[in-house]
């Protein structure tokens, strides 16, 4: 395994017309880190995730993943290299069952995603899939259609699909958005337990300051496409400039 950061972005820039969604973003994410990204709407958090995962091509700058330059690669290539992500609006297979969805990720992880003769329902994958659904608290829904999942369950499944790919870096875009206040800490507890068990390097974008305060070990604050603060949650989240940028008040 190469030494150094898992992810390093250098001077990433992206503009949409006159709007600078990413403005010289340079960050390093070390192995095993648990990083929260905060920022107001339109501050460039999701754009950063979209650039890192290949959904958007940067106008300028470089993305180094495990030491190799991945700038401009397609999402599926980035995924194969070890970067997985979840979405603010869960991206699921609503016509498949929960287990089938997960089996597809397990097949992809095993390099068997395009196998067209051997069955997808294989004992080993089923056992692994059910075990993983258990860890995400979704085992009871295993054979139910994805469309029947509650919102919190959809969020968890979206992340489980990425987690099943055994990534080296997991990026989560607002894992608690759309989840009720009562459920969001339960969702995060479940996620963080899985992350802690695997020591997976994780970055999550989040609006909720309480969630970031409670679950991240490091916080990066974005404003107008720029990194305005980076450090321990206690320091960053109490910074008046950050609070003003994120919450609109100091």
């Amino acid at each position: 395994m190469p030494e150094g950061p898992v992810l390093r972005t250098v001077d990433l820039c992206k503009s949409f017309g006159a709007v600078r969604a990413a403005d010289a973003i340079t960050v390093e994410i070390g192995a095993g880190e648990l990083v929260g990204i905060v920022g107001a709407n339109g501050s460039g958090k999701t754009t950063f995730l979209n650039i890192v995962t290949g959904y958007l091509k940067p106008d300028r700058g470089r993305i180094l993943f495990l030491g190799s330059d991945c700038t401009g690669l397609q999402p599926r290539t980035m995924t194969k290299r070890g970067i997985a992500r979840s979405f603010q609006i869960p991206q699921l297979y609503t016509n498949l069952s929960v287990l089938e969805s997960l089996l597809l990720s397990l097949a992809a992880e095993a390099g068997q995603g395009t196998a067209f003769w051997r069955p997808m329902y294989r004992r080993q994958w089923i056992e692994t899939g059910l075990d993983m659904l258990g860890r995400f608290g979704l085992k009871a829904y295993a054979h139910r259609p994805v469309s029947e999942l509650p919102e919190g369950g959809r969020k968890l499944l979206d992340i489980a699909l990425s987690f099943a790919l055994k990534p080296r870096l997991l990026l989560m875009d607002e894992p608690t958005s759309g989840v009720s206040i009562e459920d969001k800490f339960q969702v995060m507890d479940t996620l963080m337990k899985v992350v802690a068990e695997t020591r997976l390097t994780t970055v999550f974008v989040e609006h909720d300051m309480d969630v970031v305060q409670r679950y991240s070990r490091r916080v990066i604050a974005f404003d107008n496409g720029r990194v305005v603060a980076d450090g321990e949650p206690g320091r960053v989240l109490t910074d008046p400039d950050v609070r003003k940028a994120v919450l609109g008040r100091a």
């Binding site: 995962t53 397609q74 999402p75 599926r76 290539t77 995924t79 194969k80 997985a84 992500r85 979405f87 991206q91 699921l92 297979y93 609503t94 016509n95 498949l96 089938e100 089996l103 597809l104 990720s105 097949a107 992809a108 992880e109 068997q112 995603g113 395009t114 196998a115 067209f116 003769w117 051997r118 069955p119 997808m120 329902y121 699909l161 990425s162 790919l165």
Partner: protein
Amino acid sequence: MDAKRLPLAPVVGGALLAAVPFVLPDWMKFLVTLAMAKFAAVLAVALFLRANQVSFGHAMFYAVGAYTVGFGAKWFGLRDFVLLVPLGALLGAGVAALVGLVMARYREVFFAMLNLAFSMMLYGVLLKLYWVTGGTDGLSAGTPTFLGYAPSREYLRDALYYATLGVTGIVVYAVFRFLASPLGFYLKAIADNEIRIEYSGESVRHVMYVTYVLSGALAGVGGVLAAFTVGHIVPEYSFWIQSGDFVFVALLGGYGSVVGPLVGSIAFEFIRTYASKYFPNEWQMVLGIIMLAIILFRPGGLWTIYEGIAARFGRREHEVERA
């Protein structure tokens, strides 16, 4: 599909089909043979319907299969069923491998209409190159042999029927395996979420392409079987109305299962035959009314009638066991 219950259906269905030559008159035997032949092409279209993609051009590969038989007989004296079925599949897959390079990039209306465009180009070629293709006069399929064995005229129809049934069984098994594979599930997932597929590290275009090649092979097989059944091959095999028929039949039978298109194909041949007998000037209207009824009352196709009954019996058995 319920894996514990449904295997009974293919067994019973296979037994019923095996009994056809003993219980049905020759003209009905012909209809069922033709239905099984077209079923392979309908299944090709049904694969894409699972991904919410409709093709109005798969008659192109059906024609490739049929003309494989015609050219085989005309130029090489080939008439052997066992040789020409895989050859038709290979050529259908080969043409699909070329056309698929374009098709795998498109979805929805573009996918539908580009398929139609390619099939109509082939239709034009088949029509105009009459010194090669026979033009509107077409080509003769010749009398088939089976591994060199030539059945007497008396048994030819039955031999062809059982050979077609055997190929149908292989097609059902192969497509069932395909749909149960990861790629088969990814195909279904295209209807839901292409973004998630790409973020799983898989290529949607690859899934489309492989399926397209398979569908070309299936329709090619259908063309070979139909050519032997009818005995004559004409450019209309590639015409867009033929492609439309395949889509119609897939919806009629239901594309959610492998067997649904077979049910639809058999039903279609009989409905069309009886409709044109009793309503010679309005038979298309009869088909339209039936399609309307299917979409309104059984959007999953005729096969869902069986599934509904099977589910009801399954529940009853379960209740009896619990009692």
